[in-house]
Amino acid sequence: MRHVISLLLENESGALSRVSGLFSARGYNIESLTVAPTEDASMSRMTLVTSGSDEIIEQITKQLNKLIDVVKVVDLSEAANIERELLLAKVRATGAAREEMKRMADIFRARILDVTDASYVIEVTGNQAKLDAFLAAIAPEQILETVRSGVCGIGRGDRILKV
């Protein structure tokens, strides 16, 4: 099953490679990984998307907790949570496709960030499924380039991941 795991880690050099090294050494799957500093400059927050049986997910959270630089670990998938990912897509925007691309952006509540004679850069945010749907809705030959941020996650309501 797919799980979204959030962690707070010390903002030390090498902390990221301890996490990624753990996943490669133990053969765990990483679907996406995002990391950035938090409002507390001594810590970073990471969101990891992984998948595996209950036993593997239990091991993953325990192994993450065991890393000395990891301060806290929460499996967001255990309760209600919000996931968001950002997609930037550079698409062909010529002829009939130019109007079509604009319409598609509106349907997905996306924003056009850059316009040239021949292309748009479109920003889409949403959960993974929405971004996948957006890309599926565009003909592949129209897509020039894409970049996705990976998933950021946060628990709903009272669930707070903080030290």
Binding site: E10, S13, R18, E58, Q59, K62, Q63, I68, V163
Partner: protein
């Protein structure tokens, strides 16, 4: 007071009451060696290869309950140390390894003797640090020692660039260190402990299985007391030997691939298995599906939550320090209901039936020296009271099976990583820690040659080790597997052109004795331990070349699918 980084390091080591630093100098650690030279509290043991420095520090740590310290230079110094670090990591031995690094401005520029030491040691240390600012050095070392010995112990590496060891700053050593991200659980959860005890008291076929965690947490007295109170049979793994006295009636010997028949049968057929500081290793439980095919309730006490339910699903986990949790269990047991021996009488009868198979019996030969016989004689001559360091291979298994350990920290071997070449440096570390103790190293002609250069270190430091070399002119364990599972094609397992080990020992300034006949085994050992008490003696036992280690569970087979002797082949 303002000190250099090098002086700070020495002061920190003194604060941590470090007696010995095992090391080898080089360019990146010149300031550190200079500071070491200008003090006399810490003794430096100059090894002949950095791998042995880490192993010796490891042997020192295993035979005491202290943190071992090794010091190596950058580049090849660090890469040579790597095997030692990984060996300690696999067996959770507390070490602080100090490595020199090229000066900070050169890091990342492929400088002479530069290697990404924190990068390559990351997966085989408990934690590691690169100190970029001398102001962080004292605090980093405090953290390193704290991390190494607390929680589940392990090696911690501190990489110190040359300019950091030369830079000056104000020195103060922190009395305490707290890390918000590191809080090992020490005491067990009372609810879990009560549940565990109820389950054990209700058991008809209880079994206790303990590992290195008992030794590491110095819990042998508590384990012995609890086991006797409970009255259940007990087995100690390769890493746990000496956790419970081997001469006791409740002790069934070692479990696993070369474990006893009774220990493996009891592990498989018990109804409640209490695992303490052990990790259900593949060499211990054999085929995992076969192991799970007999239903039993598993209770697991371990300080490391990741060890619980990693390979085998555990019913009652108790996270905590083994010594503390056993203390809690004893307290509960003494305060409440007592175990009823009638409950387990039938089980004991079954266990005694298995024990009656006498699986460790072997046939003596009038003219060939049996390796088992050498170990038994070693036990007799040392009255079971030696510290025994072992290398890796057949001799290791024979030592584990036939030297009956009554106390913890007497058996030093590489259980997890299985590193050939550890024996001699382990014995060195143990002898330095226990100058009065009899220290034996059981080794083979393959393993001893992996760190033979340390005979020179032993000469320099006058270490009166007794090396029992079980020489069969084969890489015996490899040969055994090739004989059994690879059509007797002895690929690469025969070593031609072996040195004359007696002359080799003499060349290093030690005593060498060659033993060819069974009748000479005991006299040679007595001579070594009495006449040459204060000298290193290498005993080259020419053993039966065809002898194999039995019992044996073939890799991938179930724990009870055992080969008991060559007649089962």
């Amino acid at each position: 007071m303002e000190l250099t980084g090098a002086e700070i390091l020495i002061r920190c080591l003194q604060e941590e009451k470090v007696e010995y630093v095992f090391g080898y100098p080089g360019g990146a650690v010149l300031y550190l060696y200079d500071a070491l030279f200008q003090q006399d509290k810490i003794r430096h043991v100059l090894v002949r290869h950095e791998q042995a420095a880490v192993h010796a520090a490891d042997g020192y740590a295993r035979s005491t309950q202290k943190v071992g310290v090794a010091l190596v230079t950058s580049g090849p110094g660090s890469t040579n140390a790597l095997t030692g670090i990984a060996t300690a990591y696999c067996d959770s031995v507390p070490l602080v390894v100090i490595s020199g690094q090229t000066p900070t401005p050169t890091i990342g520029q492929d400088a002479f003797q530069e290697v990404d030491t924190v990068g390559i040691t990351r997966p085989c240390t408990k934690h590691n640090f690169l100190v970029r600012d001398v102001a962080d050095l004292a605090c980093t070392l405090k953290k390193a020692f704290y991390l190494a010995h607390s929680g589940r112990p392990g090696p911690v590496l501190v990489d110190i660039p040359k300019d950091v060891s030369a830079a000056r700053c104000e020195y103060s050593y922190p009395a305490h260190v707290t890390m918000r991200s590191y809080n090992p659980v020490i005491r067990g959860h009372m609810g879990q402990i009560k549940k565990a005890l109820q389950t054990l008291l209700a058991a008809r076929r209880p079994m206790i299985y303990t590992g290195g965690g008992v030794i590491l947490s110095d819990a042998a007295p508590e384990l012995t007391k609890f086991t006797r109170l409970l009255g259940a049979p007990i087995t100690n793994t390769l890493m746990g030997l000496g956790g419970y006295p081997a001469s006791d009636r409740q002790y069934l010997g070692m479990p696993g691939m070369h474990g006893t028949y009774e220990a493996n049968m009891a592990m498989q057929h018990c109804d409640v298995l209490l695992a303490i500081g052990a990790r259900f290793d593949d060499r211990v439980i054999g085929n995992i599906e076969h192991f799970a095919s007999d239903p039993r309730t598993i209770i697991h006490i371990d300080i490391d939550p990741t060890s619980i339910s990693k390979r085998v699903k555990v019913d009652i986990p108790v996270v905590g320090n083994v010594k503390d949790v056993l203390g809690q269990l004893i307290q509960q047991l003494e305060a409440g209901a007592k175990p009823d021996p009638a409950h387990t009488a039938a089980w004991w009868q079954q266990v005694e039936g298995w024990r009656a198979r006498k699986c460790l019996d072997y046939k003596l030969s009038p003219d060939l020296i049996k390796p088992q016989f050498v170990i038994q004689k070693l036990w007799e001559v040392t009255q079971g009271d030696a510290i025994v360091a072992s290398d890796v291979g057949q001799h290791q298994m024979w030592a584990a099976q036939y030297y009956r350990f009554e106390q913890p920290r007497r058996w030093l071997n590489s259980g997890g990583l299985g590193t050939m070449g550890v024996g001699l440096p382990y014995a060195m570390g143990a002898q330095l820690a226990h100058p009065e103790a009899q220290v034996a190293c059981v080794t083979g002609e393959g393993s001893i040659q992996m760190n033979i250069q340390e005979l020179s270190t032993c000469r320099q430091f006058r270490l009166p080790l007794k090396l029992c070399l079980l020489n069969n002119r084969y890489l015996g364990m490899v040969r055994q597997w090739q004989q059994m599972f690879h059509g007797q094609r002895y690929s690469g397992s025969y070593m031609d052109s072996l040195p004359d080990f007696v002359k080799l020992a003499e060349a290093y300034g030690h005593v060498g004795i060659r033993v060819d006949r069974p009748a000479d085994v005991e006299p040679a050992l007595r001579e070594a331990f009495t006449q040459h008490k204060n000298e290193l003696v290498l005993l080259d036992f020419q053993i039966d070349r065809s002898e194999n280690v039995y019992p044996m569970v073939q890799g991938g087979k179930g724990l009870t699918e055992m080969i008991l002797s060559s007649e089962d082949l």
